[in-house]
């Protein structure tokens, strides 16, 4: 187990360092996410409706961004045959799964913090202090679930031709419960539509359950998908 965690730490550090140096997330994914939020505002074109649906828009934007980050994360690995090299070296692929998930979750969390600030400014959302705890828990759990799902299916599509189109087809149906639960919990945290903070906590249970399920499934499935 120690070797798994050591490898996970090395992979996560490598992924985050690569992103920090290349600045693709900050220079490309973040502006993309901002433009998506702006375009949502153009499409909906109503201040009251925007405030009402802001939670869902933030999570949809996170989802689109997650697809981009996941694809980039595996593009880097496959371009130089790094995954094959790790496999030949006898590395435990569960460590790679944990490490890549950790790095992806960290990037999604950073992205979500910026997106919520943008939502406050653009959509005139005013988060009440009472909902702050729920908002933090929801964001952490939703980012974790999205990250775990992204890496599980990213591993499957890593070596596939046409993975750019395959990955969304595989991931989008699976993340539906995450989008529903994260949106409802966020609406409760923000008090949208008169929802109470207490109404949001059960949704975090669903998020937690999904996160644990995909962590377990990913640990078993990812090595098998990579080793073929």
């Amino acid at each position: 187990m120690n070797s798994v965690m050591t490898l996970a730490k090395a992979v996560a550090t490598k992924d985050l360092r690569t992103e920090f140096r290349s600045r693709v997330v900050t220079n490309q994914v973040l502006p993309f996410a901002g433009v998506v939020l702006l375009l949502f505002a153009f499409a909906i074109d109503s201040d009251s409706t925007l405030a009402r649906v802001s939670s869902g828009l933030v999570w949809m934007t996170t989802l689109f961004s997650m697809l981009l980050i996941t694809q980039r994360s595996f593009d880097l690995e496959t371009a130089d045959g790094a995954l094959d090299a790790l496999r030949v070296a006898g590395a435990d692929m569960r460590g790679v799964f944990v490490g890549k998930s950790g790095a992806l979750i960290a990037q999604l969390l950073a992205l979500d913090i910026v997106l919520f600030f943008l939502a406050v400014i653009l959509f005139r959302v005013e988060p009440p202090a009472a909902g702050l705890g729920l908002l933090v828990v929801t964001t952490v759990l939703a980012a974790a679930t999205l990250g775990l799902i992204g890496v599980t299916y990213g591993g499957l599509a890593a070596k596939a031709k046409g993975r750019e189109t395959l990955l969304p087809l595989l991931i989008l149906p699976v993340v539906a419960p995450v989008v529903i639960a994260a949106t409802r919990a966020t609406e409760s945290a923000l008090g949208v539509g008169g929802r109470k903070v207490s109404e949001g906590w059960p949704w975090t249970g669903l998020l937690g359950f999904t996160a644990v399920a995909f962590a377990v499934v990913g640990l078993f499935a990812f090595p098998a998908l990579i080793e073929e």
């Binding site: 499957l156 395959l166 595989l170 149906p173 399920a213 073929e228």
Partner: protein
């Protein structure tokens, strides 16, 4: 053609049917004819739904058999993954069953939309069971896309088996979502224990629809998995032929 047959034990010139499948096919077609007669002529119109209730004789069986098809895919995938032999036949059954399941689920969604327009006044309602069924449909389209990723037959079998086992986890969500979320969708009428409200002939027609569509499913899966076997044989032969050609080139140089 004879080389192909020798290469992988499959006679490409032989049709995929056998005596058993011919009888099965004939019985299925007779079943469809009887279902049409029962559904369109013999059974009465419903007191509330009118003639639109006749859509149920296709909608309900296709929905049930689509779920069954996805369960067959999951079981066949598990048999491939967890049995030491890793027989590729299980993978072919899984693939064939998923294809027919997607076809049936498309029929379910189309007939459900038509019934919804006549009964609710809209083609689509954002109801939990309906929406999740649509997600399930897309999930298995993704599964079929994964099957076409290429690589060796064993690679295809392994990766698609894992995806099938991931995908089947959604079925309980579909089935029980109607109880979890508030729903406009028609409550289950047949499976509610001790509360069957249908006319006897209507219930028999529904039952006959399930029998007919089940036979059709088995018939189609048997043929389809034999076609997949032949496709695999052709691919293997193509590879063997290419390798042989390269070897000959090497010898002549």
């Amino acid at each position: 053609m004879s080389t192909l047959a020798a290469a992988d034990g499959v006679a490409a010139t032989t049709p995929t049917g056998t005596r058993f499948t011919k009888y099965l096919g004939a019985f299925t077609l007779a079943g469809v004819a009887l279902l049409l007669l029962l559904g369109l002529v013999s059974t009465p119109a419903d007191q509330n739904q009118g003639d639109s209730v006749r859509i149920m004789y296709v909608h309900v069986p296709t929905a049930w058999i689509a779920y069954l098809a996805f369960v067959v895919t999951a079981i066949a995938s598990a048999m491939y993954l967890f049995r030491s032999a890793h027989s590729i036949s299980w993978d072919r059954i899984a693939g064939a069953s998923a294809e027919i399941g997607v076809l049936y689920m498309a029929l379910t969604l189309i007939t459900g939309s038509l019934w919804g327009r006549l009964t609710w006044g809209v083609f689509w309602e954002w109801d939990a069971r309906l929406t999740t069924t649509a997600f399930l449909f897309v999930t298995y389209i993704g599964y079929l896309a994964v099957r076409r990723l290429g690589g060796t037959h064993d690679q295809r079998a392994k990766r698609s088996a894992i995806v099938a086992l991931l995908a089947v986890l959604e079925i309980p969500l579909v089935h029980f979502s109607v109880r979890i979320w508030a729903s406009l969708h028609q409550e289950p009428t047949v499976l509610r224990a001790g509360d069957v409200k249908m006319d006897g002939l209507m219930l028999f027609t529904l039952f006959w629809g399930v029998v007919t569509f089940t036979l059709m499913f088995v018939w189609l899966v048997v043929h389809r998995q034999r076609v997949i076997t032949m496709e695999d044989a052709i691919e293997s032969l193509g590879l063997d032929t290419a390798l042989e050609a390269r070897r000959r080139e090497g010898q002549t140089v």
